[in-house]
Amino acid sequence: MGEFKVHRVRFFDYMPAAIRAMAFNRRTERLALARADGALEIFNFADNYFQEKVIPGQDGRAVEALCWVGRRLFSAGLNGEITEYDLENLRPRYTVEAYGGPIWTISAVAYSLSGCVPCQVGCEDGTVKMFEVLEDRIQFQRNLDRQKGRIISLCWHPSASLIAAGMMDMIRIFDVETGRATHRLLVERGVGASKSKEVVVWSIAFLSDHTIISGDSAGKVQIWDGLTGTLARTHLVTKWDVLALSVSQDESSLVAGTSEGTVVQFQFLSSTLDGQNKDWVRTRTFKNHSHDVRALVHTETAVVSGGMDTQLVVRPLLDKVEKNTQESAMRKMAFPHRSLVCCAKKAGLLLFQFPDHLELWRLGESDGHGNPGDSLPVKRKPEKLIQLKRKGEDHICCSALSPCGGWLAYSTVTSFRLYRLQNNTISITKVSKLPKDLRSAHQLCFSTDSSRLFASSINSSVVVVALNQPECKYLHTLKPKSGSREPVHLLFASEDGKWLATANTACEVQVYNLDKIKLHCTVPVYGSCPTAIAIHPTSSNLVVVHADQQIFEYSLVQKEYTEWSRRLQKQGLHSLWLERDTPITHVTFNPKHPAHIILHDMFMFCVIDQSLPLPEAKTRLFNQMILRSLPEPMRILHRHAFKMCKTFQNLMCVRLLEDHSLVVVERPLLDIMSQLPAPVRQKRFAT
């Protein structure tokens, strides 16, 4: 089929931040995840664990705890503030100072009959503060009795009349009505040298039968009787800290995360056959992390864990899911589900997006040709042209580089910046006069001729500005007819400048006609979120790939699915294709071969040749090795449309340059690991 010259790039030092807190909304099946840099991510567990939304972090915002109240998301942190997030505009909605010093924990009642949902925070100064969640804000209600020592963890009793608070060396139970502490449970300190150290009750759970479960810094998981305030059982699970606890909804299973990176499961089981005398029994230990497990969620079927090693791990419980299905496979989510790399394909430039800066690199060059498998001598090394530090304390949420390499834009939740680049002299000039409609963007995209900039804005709208030197001018705002308020997370401008396609997290894909400046069509809504979209340069077919790995091709001319797309849907995608667990994050086309679609996920890139037969269920999907070993005439017999290449791993980006060479940006997980701090020391054999 063909040879590619590949620029294999490994100098993007992408470093995800540690996971600090998680909260799972069982109703919407959304997992909210907070990272150490203050960034928030929302994963849709009902849609292949797709990372739907990302709210960029902010300097000084250290989220310590998250909680859902209905569809609303709150966080509290060591900056002493409670923040509610605007999940439609992907930014904090407001922030309330709790006036109690750093906040360690936040907890809301799971459901409330009265309609006014109380929400609580535990503070450094020893107070538990109650807030009332109103429609548009939260309001301080009162303090529970102030205690000596910080409140580290909180958990409501399901009846909403009691609260258990984990503190230093003790647990307290409060009566919410009176605000008085009713019980004081003393937690034993560790033995030996740690005897003199206060024990921190990192996490606490309050079950409906008044059992209290605590995890502490002495490595213990303790089961207490909350009615009498007595200790029922102690499980020593680690030499270090038990940092997180999570209980299944039916209260039959419990997981505890430790500093060793292990997650220990306990189950409420009966030791005798008759089902009497149930007890919390330690059952399983999972080791999926190299570092502290800081955040844990026990869903109905899986244990979701995250921590210092930055990876989000979904570990299905094999007694809850059908074995040997896609559902039973463990997932590790290491990379964001969107691209942090932008490529100027005419200029051969790469733009890397970091939370606090951007890096612009020029690719290297080689001369001569080689045979497949060869590495060519690098004549000119790649070069970092610019490192641009962001202004303000908000982290960068999106960035773009124009195809010609002459424009660079980035946005935070509060500001937008556009720069003019002169590559030959390596100079950068900020465009100072920006239209006021262009204040912040969720996603940015330049037209192929670099004359237009598209910025996705509030309520699924797209702002179009014209780029002329030395300024830029607001043209118009494109709005969908659906009235959706969900943010647009994908933008694609067609090669001929006629079309602009957008996709939002409500799974809507809109195509605008840029000549007529109006909505051209809305692609029929499919139940899974689009992860990548692209419009074919000659046929004007729109290719949409979804989180459930389905691929659709929609003709913009006929306003219907193409013949190939129907064929693909009719025959169905190969099971191995559907079982991949990372989303396709980019789609592009090869101008040399109009029938080729190039797409990639984290572990492979694939060229789909629409002129070849689709692989059938029994066909070997990954057949490149076989084809290589066959003589040319035989290959034709075994060829199918999906040409998958796994030579490159941990892919952040695959792009086709104008000279038909490929750029692959790899970020080996080992490199990320090597930059993590040392894990807790573990005794290994012979050390």
């Binding site: 089929m1 040879e3 010259k5 620029h7 498998g373 060519l376 290449c645």
Partner: protein, 658 residues
């Protein structure tokens, strides 16, 4: 593990004249676990308090009337229901009542009515469900969470059927039981309900206990009255002793245990007067109890108590069936020997105690001619130790070939007859020693060492004694341990004795270096080889090895050196037909010998050459290993070359897609 406790008598019985039945019509549960209602076959119903073994009250029907089925207690109304002279609207088979259900009347022709319904309209017509010549054999009543069932089995011309009558709404299912051997009808039935299934347990006279499982919800009723085949599984195959079982009964106690009465105890002969609890999961006998007097094949169980009429009494035997584990289930004997075998073994044992050598030999021949010799393993051990102890007591008595034959069955081990090896050594029966070393897996290091010592210091006359033994009494195999009588004649030699063998002569012709000449004769070598192949543990062997004299050690080391050199050559000339030790076994022995005697050997002038040689072996081995290490290193490099090369921060590569 299930257990049967000490039983006690509930009441006396008045069995029929010919003792064909016990005189008990039925035992039924009453208000609680301590009360039962016993109906006798004449005219009376008696309520007993079980723990007091005492009747609380009794009723008798009028003179001339008889009770035709056992009286039942209806806990809802606190009434007793009995049928006299078998008649309501039609002939009644039985009345059933269990806790949680209403009393049910089963008519002889298969119709079923609730008692209330029957009493409210006593003259109602009662239909005939059963075919001509079909009659009820057994019935019961089960109440599940949602339904009440009347269950009964019938027989029609040798075929047996199971009827499942659901009440409210009434539906009837008919199943055909699979036929057992011709002419065999089930002796007893028992039904239980568990996990939404009704489980029917039934015992045949040939000792087979089957279970059939029917779902509570059942199949769609077929109006045509077609009998579905009833699938069954064989739960147990009980030993029946001589003949078939006659009066026996099996009762399910829980999911894993059944109680059987009227079946022989597997290890107590063919008498059928036993009550046993078997675990059906592991097929093991859990508890057994002899029951005095005639057994009528009747058995009831309520609240962990078994009620058994036997002889002229009705006994209560409490039992316990805790959840079984494999370990507890294995506590009791799994398979069983018949009385005949045991008798034969006992009589053989008596023979061994007294009879002369020839008779013992005959007995052993007879015993070993049996085909089921493996099953007799424990008994064989007993016999062998009897034989050994007699030989130890009586210096004139020795039966080498019998012992050899017993050892050869591979049913013996050292721990079964611990004196055997030492006895063989004492009697200089090296052939037996060799067999023991070969077949006993558990010879202690002390005994191994004693054998070694004896073998090394074997004088030529000792060997010739052995040879005569072999010549006289060939073992069961022509070639034992490469040690056939012909080859023995051919290779008669001993290094110490100085007699030249042909092999040695051959070697001498090519005049090999001295260490390549076997330092011991063939027979001695064979015996030593056997020692080399026994299992041992260094730390236990070492102290015993110190007992060897330095001459013995030197000779043994020379032999080991010889073996080592032979092995180092391409083909070991003696491997054919010989049980040869492996190279690592040889080296291990060299090491342990050197460990035990190093200081002595250093001081012994004769050992000097030997030690120098061994040292050079070690040196050559070390060199070999280091060369191998180098090769491994180079091969690994090769491996690395094919492995993926490390990619730096940036490269430009060519790939090809097909």
């Amino acid at each position: 593990m299930a257990a049967l406790y000490e039983g006690y008598t509930l009441c006396g019985l008045a069995p029929a004249q010919n003792q064909s039945n016990s005189g008990v019509l039925g035992v039924e549960a009453e208000r609680d676990s301590d009360h039962v209602v016993v109906t006798d076959s004449t005219r009376s119903v008696t309520l007993y308090k079980v723990s007091d073994q005492k009747p609380l009250s009794s009723w008798t029907v009028k003179q001339g009337q008889t009770l035709t089925c056992s009286a039942v207690y209806n806990p809802q109304t606190k009434e007793y229901v009995a049928v006299s002279d078998g008649k309501v609207s039609a002939d009644v088979w039985r009345v059933h009542c269990v806790a949680g259900g209403e009393p049910v009347v089963l008519f002889k022709r298969g119709a079923v009515r609730l008692l209330d319904a029957l009493l409210s309209a006593p003259q109602q017509p009662i239909e005939e469900v059963l075919a001509q010549e079909e009659s009820i054999r057994w019935s019961t009543n089960i109440v599940t969470e949602s339904q009440q069932f009347a269950i009964f089995t019938t027989e029609q011309k040798g075929d047996h059927f199971l009827y499942l009558q659901r009440l409210n709404p009434n539906t009837l299912q008919r199943y055909r039981l699979e036929r057992e051997e011709p002419g065999l009808s089930p002796l007893s039935f028992s039904a239980s309900y568990r996990d939404k299934h009704i489980r029917l347990l039934y015992l045949y006279p040939n000792g087979h206990v089957y279970q059939s499982v029917v779902s509570e919800r059942g199949l769609v009723t077929d109006e045509g009255g077609q009998a579905f085949p009833l699938p069954r599984s064989l739960l147990l195959s009980l030993p029946v002793g001589e003949g078939l079982l006659e009066a026996a009964s099996a009762q399910a106690l829980d999911e894993a245990h059944i109680a059987v009465v009227g079946v022989p105890h597997p290890s107590a002969g063919s008498g059928k007067d036993f009550l046993c609890i078997w675990n059906t999961n592991f097929q093991t006998l859990q508890a057994g109890k002899e029951i005095a007097g005639k057994i009528y094949g009747q058995l009831w169980s309520f609240w962990n108590k078994l009620f058994i009429p036997h002889g002229k009494t009705l006994s209560v035997i409490p039992y316990e069936c805790p959840k079984s584990s494999l370990a507890s289930a294995l506590g009791k004997m799994r398979q069983v020997k018949t009385e005949g075998e045991l008798e034969q073994i006992c009589s053989t044992a008596t023979t061994f105690d007294t009879a002369p050598v020839e008779e013992v030999q005959r007995e052993v021949d007879l015993l070993l001619s049996r085909t089921d010799i493996q099953d007799l393993q424990p008994s064989l051990g007993q016999l062998a130790s009897t034989l050994v102890s007699r030989t130890l007591q009586d210096p004139a008595f020795y039966t080498p070939s019998s012992l050899a034959q017993l050892v050869h069955t591979r049913c013996l081990c050292h721990s079964v007859c611990p004196d055997l090896v030492l006895l063989a050594l004492e009697r200089k029966d090296y052939f037996l020693c060799q067999l023991c070393l070969q077949f006993f897996p558990d010879i202690p290091e002390a005994i191994t060492c004693a054998c070694l010592k004896a073998f090394i210091s074997l004088e030529p006359d000792g060997v010739s004694f052995m040879e005569t033994l072999i010549a006289r009494e060939r073992g069961p195999d022509g070639l034992l341990n490469g040690f056939s009588p012909t080859s023995a004649a051919e290779y008669r030699s001993d290094g110490l004795g100085g007699g030249g063998t042909r092999a040695q002569q051959d070697e001498e012709m090519t005049s090999p270096p001295p260490e390549q000449i076997c330092p011991v004769g063939l027979h001695k070598a064979v015996l030593l080889n056997e020692v080399l192949q026994t299992a041992y543990s260094d730390s236990f062997l070492l102290p015993h090895l110190k007992d060897l004299s330095s001459q013995q050690v030197v000779l043994f080391l020379q032999y080991l050196q010889f073996l080592y050199l032979k092995y180092s050559q391409d083909a070991f000339p003696q491997t054919h037909g010989l049980r040869s030790p492996s190279l690592s076994q040889i080296l291990d022995w060299v090491c342990v010998l050197l460990d035990a005697h190093f200081t002595v050997l250093v001081m012994t002038p004769e050992a000097k050459g030997l030690l120098v040689n061994l040292h050079s072996f070690v040196k050559s081995q070390v060199r070999l290993v280091s060369e191998l290490g180098k090769i491994e290193g180079s091969l690994q490099e090769l491996n690395k070359m094919t492995a993926k090369k490390d990619v730096g921060q940036y490269s430009i590569e060519i790939i090809e897609l097909f």
